[in-house]
């Protein structure tokens, strides 16, 4: 099931700064909530690391903490010089990884 959405412009000029938007479906359980029935704390389960790669090279990454909302949205800029492929990786605390890809043509 595709969980992530990314929006990258299909074409750009060399040296242009483009805006990249990402969104992923994740419950981002903060670890502070209690189960109403049992009174037990619900264990924390969040995405703790987001990485964006361009042609295999990391150009943007961020560490996320418990205060990030569910279904997190993240947008950032990138200066592109040549055509290539973007790779986006969300790393889950439980070791799971969600990936998305996008291509861009630079003229």
């Amino acid at each position: 099931m595709a969980k992530a959405r990314v929006k990258v412009p299909g074409k750009a000029k060399a040296g242009e700064v483009i805006l990249i938007k990402t969104l992923i479906r994740h419950k981002m359980e903060s670890g502070n909530r209690k189960d109403k029935k049992t009174g037990q704390k619900i264990p924390r389960h969040i995405i703790d690391k987001f990485t964006a790669k361009y042609n295999g090279e990391v150009f943007f990454s961020s560490d996320w903490e418990g205060g990030v909302s569910a279904n997190p949205y993240c947008s950032f800029n990138c200066k592109v010089d040549k055509s290539g492929a973007f790779e986006f990786i969300w790393h889950d605390e439980k070791g799971e990884e969600f990936k998305a890809e996008a291509k861009i043509e630079v003229s």
């Binding site: 099931m1 969980k3 959405r5 419950k27 569910a70 279904n71």
Partner: protein, 278 residues
């Protein structure tokens, strides 16, 4: 010493004012951008909840990428062509691959009368009936990810079309029952839907701004408080609990009748699914 202190305080105050002004300017721009959208969401004086939302929340709704509800639409698209059940069919087997053509407008006319059972049926129940009768699959649970995704997807396909439920003829008795639900006092606080949404829209109930309750065209919507998409019946249950009444089960007859009345109250308003509200 005190003088110096005052001076630095003054400078900080100035900074804060500057930041405040920038913030005002930004929200001013948002409001200007949304003015056009606002007129779209008002028909014959009936205002959608869009008018009672924060500009920032509306901005989320207007941008298809920023709108987290679109994640459910995306899942709905995937479910549309997924084969399930003993009959080996998917939604697309009967309704076609391009749901944009075949299902456009469907959302605006539900709840509708089911001629076989003689009962009113809303879109969720219709989807599940299709699953049981035609696909020989298990019905999806209420508020499950699958049912919400499919409902949101069907609603999304009718986005921009005016709500148009039928309330006369055979449906009239259900409509009257729904209307009675809307005006019925309930719970420890002894309040009916109408006390907030007809008598007092635009006023504050503690920190919340009361809307006109034109919810028919907006649900299922992404509610920031829930951090997910929720159905209209979940909202009904929340409202009932707030007046300290015992809520009905989602999909109960009372709620389906009420849904018809609420959707009739939204008549003519363009479908906003998936809307975003606080």
């Amino acid at each position: 010493m005190t003088r110096k202190g005052n001076k630095s305080m003054g400078a900080m105050g100035g900074l804060a004012a500057l930041a405040g002004a920038a913030g005002l300017l930004l929200s001013g721009l948002l409001i200007a951008n949304q003015a056009a959208a606002k007129s779209k969401y008002e028909v014959d004086g009936r205002k959608s909840g869009y008018h009672y939302s924060n500009p920032e929340t509306n901005e989320m709704q207007d941008d298809d990428f920023l709108n987290p509800g679109m994640l459910w639409v995306q899942r709905g698209i995937a479910l549309w062509s997924k084969v399930d059940g003993a009959a080996g069919k998917s939604c697309a087997s009967c309704h076609g691959d391009d749901a944009r053509k075949t299902m456009r407008g469907v959302f605006t006319v539900y709840p509708k009368l089911n001629k076989k059972t003689g009962k009113l049926e809303n879109i969720e129940q219709r989807i599940n009936r299709c699953r049981v009768e035609n696909m020989k699959a298990k019905p999806w649970k209420w508020e499950s990810g699958e049912l919400l995704s499919m409902t949101t997807f069907i609603g999304f396909l009718s986005r921009g079309l005016p709500m148009n439920v039928k309330v006369d003829g055979e449906v009239k008795p259900f409509f009257e029952k729904g209307k009675a639900e809307y005006f019925k006092r309930r719970g420890q606080l002894d309040m009916a839907c109408k006390h907030c949404h007809i008598d007092n829209p635009g006023k504050r109930i503690r920190a919340d701004l009361l809307s006109e309750g034109r919810a028919g065209q907006a649900f299922p919507l992404y509610r920031l408080k829930w951090q997910k998409i929720g159905s209209l019946h979940r909202r009904f249950r929340g409202c009932n609990k707030q007046v300290r009444a015992k809520p009905y089960k989602p999909g109960a007859e009372e709620y389906v009748n009420l849904e018809l009345y609420v959707k009739w109250r939204s008549r003519g308003l363009p479908v906003e699914v998936p809307a975003v509200r606080r």
